[in-house]
Amino acid sequence: MKIRQVAVLGAVAALALTACSSEGSTTTPDPSATSGTGTATGDAREITMWLAGEDTPEELRTWLTDEFATTTGATLNIETVEWGELLPRLQTSIGNPDQTPDVVEIGNTQSPTFTTIGAFTDLTPHLADLGGDKLGPEGFVEAGSVDGSVYAVPYYWGSRYVFYRTDVFEDAGIEVPTTLDEFNAAAKELTTDEQSGFWLPGQDWRNGISWVFAHGGDIAVQEGDQWVGQLSSPESIEALTELQDLYTNASKAPKDGEDAEPWTAFNNGDAAMFMAPGWARWSISEDLTENVGAMALPGTDGGAAPVFAGGSNIAISAASPDQDLALEALKLIASEDYQTMLAKNGLGPSNSDYNDLIGDDEFAEAGRAAASNAKLTPASAGWAGVETDRIMEEFFAKIAQGGDVATEAAAVDAALNDALN
């Protein structure tokens, strides 16, 4: 009995001791994990860049670190931060010179939260090196600006367009729609017991909001220094009613679903259409590629409907001790090589000169058409709060569940007024 006790204690102690001995080598944080510590010495300088999620392909990251080493002689550490962790991490570290990333990618809708409190460096004097007039899309530049100064420049963008099954359309004898009404009609007509005409998950407001934009509605507009919610405007109500009809009669997507992985249903043959940012094309099953078409969501009077533009901005932390190096990294991103690689990977480049490189197949066409008319969320510092509170997700889920449009819209406008001001 006693021997066993000793053995167990020994095991616990051994576990703890291994922890201790290896601890010696790790108490000093991994050098790649802290930034800005190597400010003084020339050769050992290094900066840290946070890239959000997995959106930037590996190839681009490698190019960036290699090129940075060659041109500056310093080291660029790229760290991936999950989208869900980006806000808490930035909020705690951005003011601390030792902890802050020097360069940080941030969702365009999150930018105002940080630009308005002076967390980022003013990039206005350097705009010429970062793309100048060609920098876009316009909405992204606005999202990164305060009072005419630019604090966060566009990194990449992707506009949402519609993927559809050409064979399903043909079998049903339906023409590819050219107006929003035709699109709605087609979506309902293609819906069967097993198939959604248009796959639209309940919480997927980033696609659903296109209907509001197309009808001339908006999320919120600035009146004086106040933001005023617009989802209960007559235009928005009309659009939301139309959308509710689609939720009920054209989509079998889960009412609690978000915009993640809409192609799964499409690949399974459960949906005739879905809407997603351009990079979704790489997720479509190879068995289907012959039968997949792409189009920009048509507007009410033809042409492309204004859709929601997704993407990121990139900025330099005001607390970074290596402003010059951080700027070099931004210049590399603005370089021809990098912009070309972005475009080739289906990510909209921030310099509009390179937009054509996205390609000229119908996917690229649809993407460009959609981008020509893309809109962003309100450029208010409070928008990040709207996202964390999931106000839009909940509102659209309620519409999808058949809630009364006018009542819900009035409620969400009140919530928006609260959060944005």
């Binding site: 009995m1 006693k2 869900g84 806000l87 808490p88 909020q91 705690t92 951005i94 003011g95 601390n96 939260t113 940080f114 409190i117 002076g118 967390a119 309940g202 919480q203 079998k252 889960p254 009412k255 609690d256 679903g257 978000e258 607390a319 990040a384 709060g385 996202e387 964390t388 509170d389 999931r390 106000i391 997700e393 909940e394 889920a397 569940q401 959060a419």
Partner: protein
């Protein structure tokens, strides 16, 4: 020896008073008088540094307007007196969160205790092989890290491919095809309750089972001979014996379930409607992280601490009495 070995843990739960100090020489006594303070020093230092200091800061922040600008140092914090508390107490949404938290805590702690105690009693009554199986399986469930368990449960309740929906459809309830469990707040809390209970029952079951094994067989048999039924024996002999353990475990469940965070936070990310399913833990987190309103978040946290104290004051007093 082995008999002694089996006793300490359960005796330990019973909060036996420490022995009176024995008489020793005067010098030794002075050393002895210092000894407890020396022994306590490390714990006190950790408490003061890692909990006390942040708690005081939090208290200070709760009287300030403290946002992101203050956090990164571009603006100094502004004293607002009791404004945060006033706003908090006047906000219906906050009261909704408080009431939901209390309800969730009572339902979950209650359910966990009932199920846990039942499983513990069951373990004393079933065949030997089954008892071992129960113990191993409960141990396995107990060992599941929270995030790992949450991913599994998210997958079980998945709208499209979840096995729970499939099972209901097989049983003839077709409306469960593609059912979204997390969308309705009540159903959301139902799922959360299943998960929290599943994760907390093993601890309760093991603790109570340990206490049950200390119930005297002889007394039980004597009672049976006197004609006491099964329920009577449980009520008048077993229950009083295990009560001290039940008390402590119950207190812990109440405290833990009131500050439940990980499960709710995770389920909200998996499809729950945040504004309708927030409990105090996620509410504070959202105020701080989402809205960068650290002043308000601190005020709610202080309020929550007071609320927990209020809810458990009876328990704490009872336990404190037993300490002497």
């Amino acid at each position: 020896m082995s008999d002694l070995l089996t006793k300490p843990p359960v005796r330990g739960w019973r909060l036996t008073p420490p022995p009176r100090p024995t008489a020793t020489s005067r010098g030794a006594r002075r050393g002895k008088a210092l000894a407890p303070y020396v022994l306590l020093t490390p714990v006190v230092v950790v408490f003061v540094l890692a909990l006390g200091y942040p708690l005081v800061r939090q208290l200070v922040m709760s009287f300030q307007e403290f946002g992101l600008a203050q956090q990164i140092g571009t603006k100094p914090p502004e004293w607002v007196g009791l404004d945060n508390y006033r706003e908090l107490l006047g906000d219906e949404g906050v009261w909704g969160v408080v009431l939901r938290s209390i309800a969730f805590c009572l339902v979950n702690a209650g359910l966990t205790m009932v199920v846990g105690m039942s499983v513990a009693v069951l373990m004393t009554k079933v065949a030997g092989w089954l008892r071992i199986a129960l113990q191993s399986i409960l141990l396995l469930a107990w060992a599941m890290p929270v995030i790992a368990a949450m991913t599994v449960w998210q997958w079980l309740f998945d709208t499209q491919y979840g096995v729970v929906n499939w099972l209901f459809v097989q049983l003839g309830f077709d409306q469960f095809a593609g059912h979204s469990w997390l969308l309705e707040p009540l159903s959301f809390y139902g799922v959360a309750t299943v998960i929290v209970t599943w994760m907390s029952v093993p601890f309760v079951a093991f603790s109570v089972f340990a206490a049950l094994t200390q119930v005297s067989e002889e007394v039980l048999e004597a009672a049976q001979l006197d004609g006491a039924g099964g329920w009577q024996r449980f009520r008048f002999i077993t229950l009083p014996t295990i009560m001290p353990v039940v008390y402590v475990v119950g207190l812990l469940q109440v405290v833990w379930d009131l500050r439940v965070f990980a499960q709710i936070y995770y389920l909200q990310g998996a499809g729950g409607l945040r504004s309708e399913t927030d409990l105090l833990g996620t509410f504070i987190y959202r105020l701080g992280i989402g809205n960068s309103d650290y002043g308000m978040a601190s005020a709610v946290a202080i309020f929550m601490l007071l609320l927990t104290l209020a809810l458990t004051v009876g328990y704490v007093r009872k336990l404190a009495k037993e300490v002497d």
